[in-house]
Amino acid sequence: MYSNINLPRQWSRLSYIYRTLTTLEGQTLPQSTKSSDGISPPPRIPRGPTDILQALAATVGPDPTAAHYKYHDDPYLIPLSNFRKRSYALSAEAGRKAAAWIRDEHAELFNTREWDPPGKMKTPYFNADPHIDAFAPKPLYNDESKVTEEDLKYTINNALLEDSLKIFQLLGGTSGVNEELRIAFLQLLCFYNEKEPDSMEWLEERWFSANIRERQAATWKLGGLADKIFESLEPKTSEAYCCIIQGMAKYYQAERAYVLTQEAKDNGIKLSTSVYNSLLGCIGFLKEGTALRTETLKSLLVEMEEQGISPNNETLTSCLRSISAWGGGKMLQQLALQIVAEFKKLGIEPGLSAYYYLLCLFCKERGPRVDILSGILNDLEKRESLEPKEPTDTNFFITAMGVCSDHLQDINLAERLHALLMKDDNYKLVGDAYKESIYYRHFVTVACRHAPFERTTQLLDMLVPNVYVPEPTVMEEIIKTLEVGGAGDRLAQVWSQLVVFGIAKRAKLVERLLSAMCSCYQYQENEVKEKMRAAAADVLRYSQLAEDKEETKDLRSPTQKLSATTLSNIIELCSDTQDKSDPNWDTVSEALQKLRRSEAVGVPNKPQVLADVAQKAATVGKAGIAAVAVTYLAECGFEEAISASTQVLGVMLNRPQEEVKQLLQERQGLDSLHPSALAIADAYHLAKTGAPAQDLDTSTSSESDSESSSEDE
């Protein structure tokens, strides 16, 4: 059995050699498309190391039914609210950071290849084989480090600004570093304005970082290290001028930038396209008034032509950026269109950023409706792919969706835009978490307001909750749509969504939800009605829990109390039952007690509801509930109290209304009545005269009686 193993092994080795030979031969073959025998194999396509992975990834689309893949696929670990999404992702990254810190601090423990015997160690430092940069400890620099120019090169290449500053000082400042490295360092300083950039390594922090809008002010550090290094460069090359001017223009130190440009031109130093681009971007900080600014813009463009510098995509973007920042008006809009047309003639198509600035310029909040978006979409849909080129490219989709929602109010356009975002891997253009949520806020709002009901619900089912969790304002919009569409089932679901999303404590939202439920309760099916009743009862229970929690724990912000209207809506929903033993009566009585203890804000806007409930309760035999409802009505001074009390009493005593009225007028023989009936009689007099029939003591005792009687039942 074991003896004949060797032969196939030799065979396999032979065939391996054969295969290698053929592949070696094969590699040389398809160099040219022509061959003598008429067979023409296609030329070899050079592939990158990740091409196959990218091709594989392209076959998998986003899955809206599952949480984002950065979250762990476990019911306990899937986030369902915005707060949780943020905190989970950032916690995981904090863990990664902790691990990276340990690795860097204790680099000597991560020094050998895994469990290599000590004899095999090649260097005492880091022997991993193959060496993978991402897993290697990062060097730490402090005041005692022995550094060389290599270290400076490393930090500059990896954009480690603080570290490179330190090394630069350790190397002895401007005198200790050679010219080439000094320029590289100057470029780094100018690009980041001597401020440490957010690390590329921590994606989640970048994704969730609060949207800090770049301050549109001169933040350039005058007389800073960059200026000093620039001074020290001798002779000043074109490269040095280019980077210091770009840095100044980028951080809006426009005047100095222009002075330096003039200086460079006088010295006959050639400037690059990017320099002019950045100068075009900060005209607004140099000149006042539209006419002057326009003139400067044009003169700069003319100057470019004179110098023989060809404009590029960014030139167009910076022109439009400047123009859009100068305000609105027909003249600027015309100018912008002229510029775009001119660039198109040169064969430069506007990119996403250019379109973003055009949208900013044309679609003002209180301006006339201008539909340039459909033209833009026509153009973008025709393009093969949307490549991000500038940081502002990520503003396009959110702005365009905002225009769809607020300016044009067009759902078809919004859907086209969304389809474009979902095409290929355009989703990377959505920006960050903040922009993404605003994008979907606009999208859902426009869908709720202008789309047919089915399409809206379909969209909501797809987006909520894994892709997008609606904010309270959007939730209100959704509730409104569901109310109009009469979807009681979904309204009942909305309550559980509110709880899950962590916005169930917003009293206004809950009030809105319950009034929506009440308004479309009548024409629902029985099954749906039951669900809605359950949801209403749950609202009360939830608020009770929240209040209990507030009492036990001293919370900083007090929980909002349910309003009286909300409570009366709960009462209306829960009292829709003919069964005396229905547990919903407990909810009704609890809500009524809450109202009477004046734990709710305001008074109910529909007192007739309470009168109806009182009668219904009396019919079913819940005298206590009826008494509390009528008493509350009387105490609040509603007119309905009088009619309600006579009707309820009529039902309770099983007598016609006239007789009851007479009985109440005479106040005779009332003492022999059931305590609940007595309470109603009191309420009648309170409503009629503004004072209870008996003195205070008896009325309170009757009240307590009524409560106990309601518990007895």
């Binding site: 003896s3 060797n6 916690s91 990664r96 691990a99």
Partner: protein, 169 residues
């Protein structure tokens, strides 16, 4: 095991000296306990020792009723890095049980595919999800740095240890 190894040597001998030096080390001299004791749990007097499904099945049920705890190709014939893999797996297991202290309710399963290590375990829901995410990120990153390859954690959570108890002996 011992006898089969011996027989193997005898069979190979006539063929020549291709494999014999490597096989010489496979002859065991310790007493063969593997079939009797190892991987099995002793019954307690009160019959209150909790066993998970994995523990309840003795080793000879591997591939019948239960599966392996380490999935790799090192232990196949001509596999590479045998001892390294074994030591690394032990390191990963200790690291997991120590980092997720008192939370791991099952064996730690280690699956290797290409240069990728997937570590699976059942975890008790005794800490908040936020803390779990912190530990997840920490474990993945530190193990990846240590083992010089991507490491993924595949965690499943249960409410309490009771949920994984299969029987008491």
């Amino acid at each position: 095991m011992n006898t089969s190894a011996l027989r193997l040597v005898q069979l190979q001998n006539p063929l020549g000296n291709l494999l014999s030096p490597a096989l010489a080390s496979q002859i065991h001299t310790s007493s063969p306990l593997c079939r009797v004791v190892s991987g099995k749990y002793r019954i307690t007097k009160k019959r209150d020792r909790p066993l998970t499904y994995e523990m309840a099945n003795p080793p000879h049920y591997i591939a019948h009723r239960k599966s392996w705890n380490s999935w790799n190709t090192s232990n196949l014939k001509d596999g590479l890095r045998r001892s390294e893999t074994a030591v690394e797996d032990e390191f990963i297991r200790r690291f997991m049980t120590g980092t997720w202290h008192g939370l791991v309710c099952s064996e730690v399963i280690i699956k290797r595919q290409f240069n990728h290590i997937r570590v699976a375990a059942i975890i008790r829901r005794a800490v908040s999800p936020t803390k779990m995410y912190f530990l997840l990120g920490y474990t993945e990153e530190l193990l990846a740095n240590w083992l010089q390859c991507p490491v993924t954690l595949e965690i499943q959570t249960v409410d309490s240890f009771q949920d994984v108890v299969f029987k008491y002996i």
